[in-house]
């Protein structure tokens, strides 16, 4: 039987955050893009104690299987990072646009959120059809914007991945 989840709680910063966690590429890297947005609760208020994790293919569509996400060497693109929200509920990654699949796979944690939530942020111009059609980042002067709404109006579509074995 699987082990149940529990909330990440309010004090995850010293356990999970680290220097360079949200910078998958150094600023100024050719082709670097910013993926950012706000995490909002059911009242539309920012969630300042959330953590967003990103996992993506590289700019050629490859799944990267290289270590180094926790101690970045400045040139290996590992495809994974995490970003805590600030007091305005904003998270921000510096990364490369994935070629294919054309989305950032996201995993969300927060105080008050009892288990992680999965979603996808598709690149502008790659809107999926059907129930995921709202999961598109918008192009913004500051980068790709993708807000995550936990509850209520504009609630983000979260995903339940079917399993072949469970």
């Amino acid at each position: 039987m699987t082990t149940p989840g529990q909330t990440v709680g309010p004090f995850f910063a010293f356990g999970l955050e680290y220097d360079g966690d949200s910078a998958l590429v150094p600023p100024g890297t050719p082709g670097a893009v910013r993926l950012f947005g706000r995490v909002l609760d059911g009242d539309g208020d920012p969630v300042p104690d959330a953590l967003v994790e990103l996992w993506q293919a590289d700019a050629e569509g490859r799944v990267v299987q290289e270590p180094g996400s926790l101690r970045r060497d400045g040139h290996t693109f590992t495809g994974w990072g995490r970003a805590a929200t600030d007091r305005t509920g904003t998270y921000s990654f510096t990364t490369l646009a994935p070629a294919d699949p054309p989305y950032f796979a996201l995993c969300l944690f927060a105080r008050g959120l009892l288990d992680r939530l999965f979603t996808r942020a598709y690149l502008p111009g790659h809107q999926p059809e059907g129930p995921l059609s709202s999961l598109v980042a918008t192009e913004d002067p500051h980068g790709y914007r993708f807000d995550i709404v936990l509850q209520g109006d504009g609630e983000t579509v979260f995903l339940d991945h079917r399993r072949t074995q469970d």
């Binding site: 009242d43 990267v64 926790l70 927060a110 008050g112 072949t164 469970d166």
Partner: protein, 249 residues
């Protein structure tokens, strides 16, 4: 002001409803009102079912360059010995088919022996320990096993309701072989008198399911003249990526 009696009554009502439902829930509820912070932070719509594809069938890779061998010992991160009960916590990380999750990252964080976190927003008037930070990492071995040496954390007060106390716990963060297996949870210690009172622990409404978060005291892990030992195995959800793995085998 909401009292423990109020919260306990809410917990009991949900527990009775669950028992009467005749169903089995293996996971944690996202919508669990006794945990007040969850009220505005749980989705109200059902998740959309998707087949994991591409990137979601893989996990990031972590290696020796990410995690130093000493990072699994939380008692040696400062110049002196931390105060409290030295313990060893060990166990295996497997998927639901029993396959070990090899060479994968395990991260932990916790309060010190007095129930205080190294976090500026922790206002609990218990002393910080200059010799204890309370975060550690390791990679599982080829058998999926992890081991940490640390200090037994204390229970601590929080503001869910008046006189609310969390049972002692260690936060665990785990990765599987698929992105979809990602798990963050908490490990508890056997026999904690606060279990029945805690809305976070009780948010797993099935008694057997929540007991899976409780470590076992294991005298074979205990080391003479050194530390006591606990064992806690972790089972991640099934890996959806099996067909893809076979393609690449």
């Amino acid at each position: 002001m909401t009292t423990q009696a109020d919260i306990s009554a809410e917990i009991a009502a949900i527990s009775e409803q669950y028992a009467a439902s005749g169903t089995t829930e293996n996971g944690v509820r996202l919508d669990y009102p006794p945990y007040r912070s969850s009220l505005l932070r749980h989705p109200t719509k059902s998740p959309v079912q998707v087949d994991p594809e591409g990137i979601e069938r893989w996990s990031p890779v972590f290696g020796e360059r990410d995690v130093g061998p000493l990072e699994s010992d939380l008692t040696i991160q400062r110049s002196g010995e931390p105060l409290g009960e030295r313990i060893k916590v060990t166990g295996r990380v497997t998927d639901s088919d029993g396959r070990p999750v090899r060479r994968q990252l395990v991260e932990i964080w916790q309060a010190n022996a007095g129930g205080r976190y190294v976090h500026q927003r922790d206002q609990h008037p218990a002393p910080l320990d200059p010799n204890f930070i309370g975060m550690g990492r390791c990679l599982t071995d080829d058998d999926g096993s992890y081991v940490f040496t640390t200090i037994k954390p204390g229970p601590y007060p929080w503001r869910n309701h008046h006189n609310a106390w969390r049972p002692a716990h260690i936060h665990f963060s785990l990765f599987g072989t698929d992105f979809t297996q990602r798990l963050v949870t908490q490990m508890y210690f056997p026999g904690d008198p606060l279990f029945a009172l805690d809305p976070i622990y009780q948010s797993i409404v099935d008694p057997k399911a929540r007991e899976r978060l409780v470590a076992t005291y294991d005298h074979d892990v205990t080391e003479a003249e050194w530390c006591t030992g606990y064992r806690w195995d972790i089972v991640l959800s099934g890996a959806a990526g099996t067909p893809l793995e076979e393609e690449h085998a």
